[in-house]
Amino acid sequence: MKCHKVKRLLSRMVAGEVSAELQRAITDHINLCANCRTDYEELKQEQELLLSADVPGLSPYFVTRTIARVQELARKKREAGSWLRLHWLWRFAAGLVVAIGLAVGIVIGTGLGSNGGTSADLAVLNTIPSIEELFAGGE
């Protein structure tokens, strides 16, 4: 196996991502090639260095704080949902009032037309003298 191919496979080897057969071939090459052996040793040292670094612990109230934040979000979402429902009810009520108003208007209007002007409103209109009556009275 050539050096450039071995160098390319070394990171796979450190990660344990090569087959047993390939590992044997790489190891055979490393045993004979000082340059590739140095590369492999350095890669292993770097891997050990990476693994030696600890991570600080998560603060003890992380879960509580996170859940509190999620609960707050869930509550806001619920409230927003109920406000939207209320809003929808208000819109429905307003529509209903307009519809009732229109219906009442239509009923009254139709009633006036069908009574032929004999309703109280038309009776008032009938008491107003016509232009001929006004002139006749003046002579």
């Binding site: 693994l51 991570v55 992380f62 996170t66 999620v70 979000l73």
Partner: protein, 185 residues
């Protein structure tokens, strides 16, 4: 059945119906792993906690969109990766100006000092890598994911992951070269 005996997918399915207790169990189960992963990506404890919490909030908000094609942890880590990468790009200039060692560290006892030097070296080396290479390396070294799993989490091909990891290893070597010359490794 108590929540801690239920599988992730059972908990996810309850949480999707609005069951906060099920979601809490998921938070309990995966927070340490998510935090450790993000910490290695951003190199700062407070930032990592903040981002981990943000990842959980986004997970809760996006739970209905989670189709379950990948595992919950994979999906969660994907959220964490996106947050950490975006966060890093905003803080790049500040991080480049930071020193290797905190003030006063040299007064600590030998082994503690050495350990702190190693931790700072690792932190600096990881932060020196481009985000995609760092992500692949952290998933490989610390999460122990196979190339195939990394490819799934990162949404890349196995070949691309291989290439990222080769470049990450060589990049790491260049960053650590001065420390190696000083005999710190």
């Amino acid at each position: 059945m108590t929540d801690d005996l239920r599988t992730d997918s059972e908990l996810v399915s309850s949480a999707r119906q609005g069951d906060l207790r099920a979601f809490e169990e998921l938070v309990r189960r995966h927070s340490a792993g998510l935090f450790a992963f993000i910490y290695r990506m951003v190199g700062n404890r407070d930032d990592a906690e903040e981002l981990a919490q943000e990842a959980w909030v986004r997970a809760w908000q996006g739970l209905k969109g989670f189709k379950g094609k990948s595992g919950f942890k994979t999906w969660l880590f994907r959220i964490g990766i996106n947050l950490a990468i975006n966060f890093r790009s905003r803080r790049k200039v500040h991080e480049e100006l930071s020193e290797i060692m905190p003030a006063g560290a040299e007064n600590e006892p030998g082994t503690i000092y050495q350990q702190r030097v190693r931790e700072e070296l690792v932190k600096k080396a990881l932060q020196g890598l481009p985000p995609a290479q760092r992500t692949a390396l952290v998933l490989s070294v610390y999460e122990g994911l196979s190339y195939q799993e990394i490819a799934r989490v990162m949404g890349k091909s196995v070949r691309a992951v291989d290439s990222l990891l080769v470049r990450a290893r060589w990049g790491l070597r260049q960053i650590l070269e001065p420390a190696r010359k000083k005999g710190l490794i």
